[in-house]
Structures are given as C-alpha cells and as structure tokens.
C-alpha cells in the first residue's frame, strides 16, 4: 500500500469538511477524485501533504505514518511533505525565479544538492515536460499550460513517492488543457502514484485506475472507472454524473 488513510476528520470552525475518510491506494495507481463543489476534495488532498492539519486520523505514505490524534512535530511534517508533490490549480510558481530556478529550488534549498547537479536534473525534468526552450524565462513570460508544466516539474524534482493534483487544468484555456494532461498521462504510464482532483472526465476514464466520488465530506462510492461511470451504485453518484454529462 502506498497511501493509507484512516478515520480522517477535518473541521473549519463549526463546519465539518471531512467526516471520517478511509482510503487505500496502491503503489503506481492513478486515483481520480470527483464530487460536487464544497464536498472536501481539495481539503482531502491538502491533508495528504499536511498543508491542512487534520483534527483526527492517521495518514500513512510509504513507510511514514502520522497520527493526528497526537501532536505532531514540525520536523515530522516537513519530512512527511517531501513524500508528496503538489500541483496547484493556479500553478503558484515562484514569480521571481526562472522556470529552471523554480525546478531547482527544492533540491538546492531543501535537499542541499549541489547546484550543478540540481541544474542538470532540473533540465532533464524540463525536457520531460517539453520546456527546455523556456528554461530561462520567468513565469510571467509563460502561458498557463507552460506554467503548469513547470509546476509539475518543480514537484517532481523532489522525487516524491506520490503526486497530488488539485484541478491542474481548470484555470487553463481549453486549448492548453491537452498539453498538461499529456504530461500527466506520461507520468501515469511511468508508474507514478497519483491522486488527481479533476473535472476532466475523459482523463478520468482513460487514465484512472480508480475513481472516488466524494460528497459532503465522505467517500460515497469508489470503484474502477468503467464500473463507477457506467453502473454507479448510489443515487448521489448517479445525480452527480448526470449533472456533469
């Protein structure tokens, strides 16, 4: 098991956003999370790399486990975060760094890698996402699709066990969506474990090993794409799928 989540709860003020999430994801699998707005998809993803601290529950990624019923030290959280790479809806590149510097930043600052070596690795990653030409450009000089691909390369540079994507294409012009999805498909084909929140149903059908449908802070239904899309078991799932068709 690559990821295992047990009894995860998260509350913002009075609002319970995650109400007991249990989840297991095997190494190399691509899991797509769908669900209506406000159902807690982003929050779940953010809990997986502890950008949001759960109130209760356990998360295990690879060999490391955090139990949020107990107090967790900062260092543990920092170490835990390095197991996952996060790709944000609005890219969140560092605007004062070039594409190459964005990708090198983690290895150099966090992993203390030598610059020359980090640069070489970063160039390889930029090549992988098709942006060698743009290495020395600043984010403002790149299109949304290019920025998002740099974002993916930046996350990959930390050599995470798992990649998390929160609606990676929903801020993009339609004609730029394909280039980002292509990079994600390539990653999946290489065997990367991925958790993807997306409204791109074609991507979900083609690439996902498993679909999770969330509603009101719970996982309502979970299954293979062909099963969940064609023959959903729950009324809420049917309703939601009808809405997005």
């Amino acid at each position: 098991m690559m990821i295992s989540v047990q009894g995860l709860y998260k509350q913002f003020g009075e609002v319970e956003v995650l109400k007991g999430i249990d989840l297991k994801i095997q190494k190399g699998k691509v899991v797509v999370i769908i669900g209506p707005s406000g159902s807690g998809k982003t929050t779940l993803l953010r809990c997986l790399n502890v950008l949001e601290k759960p109130d209760k529950g356990k998360i295990r990624i690879g060999e490391k486990e955090l139990d949020f019923a107990k107090s967790v030290a900062k260092q543990e959280i920092h170490a835990f975060r390095r197991l996952t790479g996060m790709v944000f809806q609005n890219y969140q590149l560092f605007p004062h760094m070039t594409a190459l510097e964005n990708v090198m930043e983690g290895p150099v600052t966090v992993k203390k890698e030598a610059k020359a070596q980090a640069r070489q690795k970063a160039m390889d990653l930029l090549k992988k996402v098709g942006l060698v030409q743009q290495a020395d450009q600043y984010p403002f000089q790149l299109s949304g699709g290019q920025q998002q691909r740099v974002g993916i390369a930046r996350a990959l540079a930390m050599e995470p066990e798992v990649m998390l994507f929160d609606e990676p294409t929903s801020a993009l012009d339609p004609e730029l969506v394909g280039e980002v999805l292509k990079v994600m498909k390539d990653l999946a084909a290489e065997g990367m474990t991925m958790v993807v929140v997306t409204h791109e149903m074609r991507f979900a059908k083609e690439v996902a090993d498993e679909i999770i449908f969330m509603d009101h802070g719970r996982i309502v239904e979970q299954g293979k794409p062909e099963q969940l899309f064609i023959n959903p078991q729950h009324e809420r799932t049917k309703q939601f799928l009808r809405l997005i068709e």
Binding site: A79, T84, H96
Partner: protein
C-alpha cells in the same frame, strides 16, 4: 518669501565687497559642511537604517507570528515610537538616561534613537509587504518541503522586497533629513556644523541654504539609486 529672497540677492549683487565676502564664506564653509555630511550625517543614516531595518523585520515577524507575547511586545513598541516625537525620544536617551546612571555618547545615542524610530515605522511597511504575498506562495514553498525560515528567505522576502522598496526609500530619505535633529544632542553632523559656522559670521541664510542644498544633493543621489534597485527587482514582472 521668494520676493524677499530675490531682493536680498539683488542687494548683494549691488554690493561688490559683500558679494566677495559671501563667496568666500560659501567657499570656506563648504568643506566643513561636506565633512560633517561624510563623517556624521551619512554614516549615521546608513548605520541606523540597517539596524532599523533589522529591527523592523524582527518586529514585523513578531507581529505576524501569532505568538501572543511577541505580538503584544511588537505592538507596544510600534505604538510608543509612533506616538511620541522623535526629538523627545532622542532627549530621553541622551539627556534622560544619565539620571539612571546610563550615559551614552552623542553618536551612539543618535544611532539608538534613530534605529528605534526606523524600526517602528519600517516594520509596518515590511509587515504589509509580507502580507501582500499570496498565501499560495507559502503553500507552494511548504509543499516542496521548505521550513518556515526557508520559505521566508527564499520565497517571501525576495517578493516582499520588491513591494517595500518605494516606501522604504521614503523612510530612508526622511532619515537623511531627520539626522539634522541629532545636532540637538550634540552630534556634529552637517547641520550642527552649519550652526557653528553661521554663529561666527552671522550669514545664516547663506550657510543654512548651503546645508540645505547638500541635503538635497544627497537625497537626489538616493532617488537615483532607488530607481536602479526598483528596475532590477521589477525584471520578473510583466509590463
């Protein structure tokens, strides 16, 4: 005002001897004034600005830390400094502290007073600059495993610097001019030099105007430097 100044100039022009006397005073006072600027005004400005900036950063961090005690101390400090005249602060440090047995020489006393002052005002600038950086930048930096300190140093400060350069430049320029107050706690900076010179020859208008011009030249030079820095920091922003 202008009319009077012009008629004053006119009178001088009529009187050849007086003109010569003024020219020689202007010339002979230039060197002491520039020395006052180079040995005291400028060092005082630079030293206090950097100490003040450091204080400001610490104060700003204390205020956004969410740690109640630090936050409270920072707020009291900023409020006290902003709520009292700079001159009163300088007098307390230089003339007041000796009553407690703490005697400080003029120059270090000025450094302390001005640094505390800059620290309080600039902390507001820096706090606002840090808060202006989107939360997503913190999250992106945390998500690649950075610690709080690393996020500040590598991601937040470089971007906050760009935002805060124009207001910090204002602080710096004000500081250059405010150092003239140090004359009142016996620092022989440029303005005190001007007072000393004028008190021997009674050409107040001439000597103080000369001092004013030197302040202006310094501030003008600063605005050129500011421009350079801004252009450099703006290179990654779309225009």
């Amino acid at each position: 005002m202008v009319k009077m100044y012009l008629s004053y100039l006119n009178n001088i022009m009529m009187d050849h001897d007086r003109l010569e006397r003024l020219a020689s005073i202007a010339q002979s006072s230039l060197l002491p004034l520039v020395k006052g600027a180079l040995y005291n005004t400028i060092p005082l400005t630079i030293i206090t600005f950097f100490i003040g900036l450091l204080l400001a950063i610490l104060t700003a961090l204390a205020r956004i830390s969410g740690i109640k005690l630090l936050h409270g101390m920072a707020r009291v400090y900023v409020s006290a400094i902003r709520g009292t005249p700079l001159l009163v602060q300088l007098f307390i440090i230089f003339y007041g502290l000796p009553n407690l047995g703490v005697t400080i020489d003029p120059f270090p006393a000025a450094v302390i007073g001005f640094s505390l002052n800059v620290g309080a005002y600039a902390s507001e600038i820096i706090r606002a600059a840090i808060l202006s950086i989107p939360k997503g930048q913190w999250e992106a930096a945390y998500s690649i495993g950075m610690s709080y300190g690393q996020v500040l140093r590598r991601v937040i400060f470089p971007q906050a610097a760009r935002v805060s350069i124009p207001p910090l430049s204002n602080t710096f320029v004000s500081l250059v001019k405010d150092t003239s107050l140090a004359s009142l706690i016996l620092v022989t900076e440029m303005f005190r030099k001007a007072q000393e010179i004028a008190s021997t020859n009674y050409e107040f208008l001439l000597v103080y105007t000369e001092a004013g011009l030197i302040y202006w030249v310094i501030c003008f030079g600063l605005s050129i430097i500011q421009d350079r820095i801004e252009r450099r920091l703006n290179r990654y922003i779309a225009r």
